[in-house]
């Protein structure tokens, strides 16, 4: 499978995700945000970081960059798109995913390993996980407080478009296990066609036992065996 990682000024997880993708046997290419064509890709990843220094709003400036119109075209033709952290923020700013990410409720940058629960495993991104499986994945963000309007929240719930929720070690989803104030503990969502996933946690940081754990591996192996 061919993957492309989009690089913006201020991206800082682009190389981590490239290492993870190559480890999982993707043929990966890095794509600069000023490029106007995308290489042939089965998967496009928008990585974490602080694109344009988070000026205006996280992801707002990157969401208007040249390559974005190509990403939107690819998304509409069914290409798989994964936005992690700042990538999730960028996807909401482009309109590919609905809702937005507000400042963390406690106003602090949070960098820690948290538990998340797999809410839907019948998608191309999550098929190798079990339903309700609890993963330990790192988060590192200042704006991860997911917010959307009521009607969209209803749609997310009804259509199984919530990918992950923050929970505790035993899987309890409540205020105590909500690190950033996100609506209903939402950590990641799909679009209606489920070919786009945006998530705040960093699965690319969880692919090597030596530095963390391997809870992120199955996201990539789901994609490669889709």
């Amino acid at each position: 499978m061919n993957s492309s990682v989009i690089v913006f000024p201020g991206s800082n997880c682009d190389r981590d995700i490239a290492v993870a993708l190559e480890k999982m046997q993707f043929k990966n290419k890095m794509v600069w945000h000023k490029d106007t064509t995308l290489p042939k890709s089965d998967l496009i990843v928008i990585p974490g970081g602080f694109s344009y220094g988070d000026y205006l709003r996280s992801g707002a400036i990157a969401g208007k960059s040249l390559i974005v119109s190509e990403i939107i075209k690819a998304a509409n033709s069914g290409c798989l798109i994964l936005g992690i952290c700042n990538g999730f923020q960028i996807l909401t700013e482009t309109g590919l995913l609905k809702g937005t990410l507000l400042r963390n409720k406690n106003l602090k940058f949070i960098n820690k390993d948290v538990n998340i629960k797999v809410m839907n495993n019948e998608t191309k991104f999550t098929s190798k996980y079990n339903l309700n499986q609890i993963l330990k994945i790192n988060i590192a963000h200042n704006e991860g407080n997911y917010f959307t309007k009521k009607s969209h929240l209803e749609e997310l719930k009804k259509e199984g478009l919530i990918a992950f929720k923050y929970c505790d070690e035993k899987g309890a989803v409540n205020d105590r296990s909500n690190p950033n104030g996100a609506l209903e503990n939402i950590a990641g969502i799909f679009n209606a066609k489920k070919n786009i996933l945006g998530m705040m946690p960093h699965p690319e940081r969880m692919v090597d036992e030596m530095i963390s754990n391997t809870d992120g591996v199955n996201l990539f192996s789901s994609l490669i065996n889709k």
Partner: protein, 79 residues
């Protein structure tokens, strides 16, 4: 033509920064304070001489980039 634009979070969206400023002002003894909402301020100058066209363009700037309409409202003032 010159404009000033303020962008603020919608009323039903929690504004934690505004809350912290509010609490701090209260702690400073400024007790008449009722509430604080924090926002962003822009000054924009456009070349367009036709007022109607310029107004329209500035509105577009607000809706397409300066404000995220899911969570923010904007107000345009002519300077």
């Amino acid at each position: 033509m010159k404009y000033s634009i303020t962008v603020t979070l919608k009323k039903d969206v929690l504004d934690p920064q505004g809350k912290v400023v509010e609490n701090t002002l209260k702690n400073m003894g400024l007790n008449s304070l009722k509430s604080v909402r924090q926002g962003k301020y822009f000054e924009i100058e456009v070349e367009e001489k036709n007022e109607e066209v310029a107004d329209k363009e500035v509105t577009q700037m607000c809706e397409k980039l300066l404000a995220n309409l899911i969570i923010e409202d904007y107000k345009i003032n002519k300077l």
